[in-house]
């Protein structure tokens, strides 16, 4: 279920703005294509998304809880990634963990984006007291250390994966809000907006129909970066015992490994960190490449 929704998101933004957007998106895609590393990263991300979706619908790694061998069997022909304390297949756990990680990235983004875009757009567009209130709010909000906020949300809502979604979603919109606010400020006095105003468009139409589609590339960049932040945060929260419980996650696997290393069992740690390392790196590189590709100032330069 991971990537499919992201793609829908991309398609929607394109569809809502067929004429103006098209050239920007196609141009960006053509620039991105030239960056071999970025394309490789995109493929990696898509692969993770496919794995996550397949695991989510139960086609692979559905039996992660099954006992397939002895406790702590080393990696080998039978169990590629070895087994854990209960004789469960570590590979299945890594795969199930990718489902947890990708869903956390996706859902926390889906929560953070509407909040960040709406507040940022309102603040940037209207300015004045609206701007002051919103800026005051997010400045205050972001002055609370994130890990404290995550812990208190987890304590209020009870622990579990839904809490992780909500906690990460609610704590990560500030950066996006700031960027959107700045961009909207730049755009609101541009000629195309004034033109829209001249033919009678109201605030709502100018903001949502004209300005937001022109700053939406920021959302794409934000999403790719938010994904990897969310994945890392989920791992940290689960490691601290505040996150996912009752199903495998990379965080709990690393937590297990903390003790297991003493008996020479390194494969849970290796499996989880490797899986996390690859996807986080891919998202990071992809995020950078997208920023370059979508930056209008770099248009036409190679």
């Amino acid at each position: 279920m991971g990537m499919s929704k992201t793609e829908v998101l991309v398609n929607n933004t394109q569809a809502s703005d067929p004429l103006k957007g098209k050239s920007l998106w196609i141009d960006a895609w053509q620039r991105l294509k030239k960056d071999k590393v970025a394309v490789a990263c995109l493929i990696i991300v898509i692969l993770y998304a496919i794995v996550a979706v397949l695991s989510g619908v139960g086609l692979i790694a559905a039996d992660w809880g099954a006992e397939v061998g002895p406790s702590y069997a080393a990696p080998g022909a039978d169990y590629w990634f070895g087994t854990d304390i209960f004789g469960r297949d570590v590979l299945s756990k890594v795969i199930h963990g990718s489902q947890v990680a990708m869903s956390v990235g996706l859902i926390s983004s889906l929560i953070a984006i509407p909040i960040g875009v709406t507040l940022g757009a309102l603040a940037g567009y209207f300015g004045g007291w609206v701007d002051e209130v919103i800026v005051w709010f997010y400045t205050t909000f972001s002055s609370i250390p994130q890990i404290m906020l995550l812990m208190s949300i987890a304590l209020i809502l009870g622990k579990g994966i839904n809490t992780v979604y909500i906690a990460l979603g609610l704590t990560s919109w500030v950066g996006l809000c700031r960027l959107i606010r700045g961009e909207v400020m730049k755009h609101k006095n541009r000629e195309y907006v004034q033109a829209a105003g001249a033919i009678g468009a109201g605030h709502g139409r100018k903001l949502f129909k004209h300005i937001i589609p022109n700053v939406s590339h920021i959302v794409i960049i934000f999403t790719s970066l938010q994904f990897q932040i969310a994945i890392k945060s989920e791992v940290i929260l689960s490691y601290l015992g505040l996150g996912v419980s009752g199903q495998p996650s990379w965080g709990t696997m690393i937590d297990d490994a903390k003790l297991e290393l003493a008996r020479g069992v390194w494969w849970q740690l290796a499996g989880a960190t490797l899986a996390m390392f690859v996807v986080v790196l891919a998202f990071n590189i992809l995020g950078d490449a997208l920023r370059d590709a979508l930056d209008p100032k770099l248009k036409g330069k190679d």
Partner: protein
């Protein structure tokens, strides 16, 4: 195996670089505790972690002989063992003269005043005061003449009246004599006077500090500490005015050979400073021990194989470092509790039996206790009257098929219609693994478990408020008597008492009340055994194991002897600084 050592080295290097250099000029005991401490108020020390801390500062009338086994009660603040009337109902204690409370600003002029018999009256009133919600009240509930009436009188009053001394069974006859009158024979009574709940507390401190009393302990004990600030380190200094207490000059057979009598006759405490680090996770505790930052420690399950050889010796690596291993069966029981407040468990014995049968206890012993524990058949551990080694509990045999059958008979074929059950545990790695193991076992018969993690104070609060549906616990004996284990399912002891299962069965309650009045002996043991067996088959809990304690100690720690009732034993321990200087470099 290479990966292991490299990774471990990395962690070790980190641990070393952030700790201070050792100080070899002064004797310091370095200890650890495995859970957060809620505060140091004797009446609310329901767990072994806080009892241990409280016992460094506070003392009671009696204590256990440090070395002798079987465990033997001896006077602590009492001058001698009590005079007991012929009917076994009246206990008269003389207390030691000249014992001073710690110097503290709650006293006039900041000087600790002398301990009086009335301090014990006050301390036991505090335990009985319903406003204190003492987790130890079960111990004296309905035992002392007039105490329950005093409790009830004050419960409804606006304020507890501690000047109301109309308690016929609890009297200070003069400054140094205290008399207890029991309602009925209660042979375990003396044990309760060695427990942290009944330790002597000065009224001045409680009134001076009010709600903050639990963070400002003032006792008569060998050690004193300032204000407890909920940090991760507790620091104690020796009490300079500690009375003349001496190291025992006789012990159990073999103690002399082990060097446990070399300090005989020395004035206690032997070490001036005690530092206790709160380290909830196994691995940091273990690493601290390996680097000599703590003087003794248990062995984490994952380090067991590389530490202990199959014939229960120490591996060479540890021998070279002078580390010593002490193996002692512990008087305890681990168990998974059904909260019988929940209608799901209250009337459905078959559901509980099914879940018990689905729990693979032998596998749990292998995974979590390195196969060193004894599988429990009843709550009573080996080594005390009432344990029957020939008895096998029919619901403690791992049998998935029978479990499924019983689950269907309970009204939930294949788990259909059964709501998800919440299992509360600690947010520690091993606790989570145990919870996952339980979840996995239950899933095999179609019972859905949701795991919820807590800190230790959160979990104990939940249990006290009867809000935990299922949870894992361990009970360490307070005294060597089956009563202490069976009272865990005695109806009147429900939460906030120690019966966290809130199990209440009229038949059990009646028989239990009769047996506890009996004097120790064969007949009592047999009746305990029968009662324990009958009601274990009602499955108030899913039984776990009776553990064996594996303690490692460093060569420089002198006089350490494992005890299940080790509260206050810190005063006997000593540090050999020369040895420490020599051995620390070998770690």
């Amino acid at each position: 195996m290479r990966v292991k050592s490299i990774l471990l080295l990395g962690v070790l290097a980190l641990a070393v670089s952030c700790t201070k250099k050792d100080n070899f000029k002064e004797k310091v005991l370095n200890l650890t505790v495995a859970a957060k401490i809620k505060g140091l108020d004797p009446v609310n020390t329901g767990d072994t972690y806080s009892s241990n801390e409280v016992a460094r500062v506070y003392e009671g009338l009696l204590q256990y002989h440090y070395l002798k086994r079987p465990y033997e009660l001896i006077p602590n603040l009492a001058a001698e063992m009590p005079k007991v009337s012929e009917d076994g109902l009246t206990y008269t204690f003389k207390i030691k003269k000249g014992v001073k409370f710690h110097d503290n600003k709650c006293f006039e002029g900041g000087k600790g005043r002398e301990l009086k018999a009335s301090d014990f009256v006050y301390s036991i009133q505090r335990m009985a005061d319903a406003r204190n919600v003492s987790v130890g009240w079960w111990l004296l509930d309905d035992k002392i003449v007039g105490l329950n009436e005093w409790r009830d009188r004050n419960k409804d009053a606006e304020k507890t009246n501690y000047d109301d001394l109309d308690i016929p069974g609890l009297k200070a006859l003069d400054d140094y004599t205290i008399q207890f009158k029991l309602k009925k024979p209660y042979p375990q009574f003396l044990y309760s006077l060695a427990m942290s709940y009944t330790y002597a507390v000065p009224r001045e401190a409680v009134e001076f500090y009010g709600k903050e009393f639990l963070n400002n302990p003032v006792g008569t004990g060998p050690y004193m500490t300032g204000t407890f600030t909920q940090t991760n380190t507790l620091k104690y200094e020796a009490n300079p005015n500690y009375r003349d207490e001496f190291y025992p000059s006789e012990g159990a057979p073999g103690d002399k050979e082990k060097g446990l009598l070399t300090s005989a006759g020395k004035k206690l405490p032997l070490v001036k400073k005690v530092i206790v680090n709160i380290l909830p996770e196994d691995q940091p505790r273990w690493l601290a021990f390996r680097k000599g930052k703590t003087d003794f420690n248990g062995i984490p399950k994952d380090n067991f194989e590389s530490t202990v050889t199959p014939d229960k010796g120490l591996s060479d690596e540890f021998k070279k470092q002078g580390v010593q291993l002490e193996i002692t069966p512990d008087l305890d029981i681990t168990y998974i509790v059904f909260n019988h407040d929940d209608p799901l468990f209250k009337d459905n014995v078959k559901l509980k039996q099914a879940m018990s049968l689905a729990y693979d206890n032998a596998e749990a012993n292998k995974l979590f206790y390195n196969n060193t524990a004894v599988l429990a058949q009843t709550p009573i551990p080996p080594g005390i009257g009432g344990y029957d080694e020939n008895y096998e509990n029919p619901y403690m045999k791992f049998d998935v098929e029978k479990a499924k059958k019983l689950l269907a008979e309970a009204g939930y074929p294949e788990g259909k219609g059964l709501p998800e059950i919440t299992y509360d545990t600690l947010s520690k790695t091993v606790s989570r693994q145990m919870a996952e193991f339980f979840k996995k076992n239950m899933a095999a018969i179609g019972v859905n478990i949701k795991i919820n993690t807590n800190t230790w104070p959160q979990l104990t609060q939940k249990v006290k408020k009867r809000k935990a549906q299922m949870y894992g616990m361990a009970w360490l004996g307070d005294y060597p008597d089956a009563e202490n284990f069976l009272q865990l399912i005695y109806g009147p002891n429900q939460s906030p008492g120690p019966n966290g299962a809130n199990f209440d069965d009229a038949g059990f309650n009646k028989e239990f009340a009769i047996i506890t009045k009996m004097q120790p002996g064969k007949e009592r043991a047999e009746r305990y055994a029968k009662l324990a067996q009958k009601y274990s088959e009602q499955v108030p809990w899913i039984l776990g194991v009776h553990r064996t304690s594996f303690v490692l100690k460093h060569s420089w720690l002198k006089n350490y002897k494992f005890s299940t009732f080790n509260y206050g034993n810190v005063k006997y321990w000593d540090i050999d600084l020369d040895k420490k200087k020599e051995m620390v470099n070998k770690l």
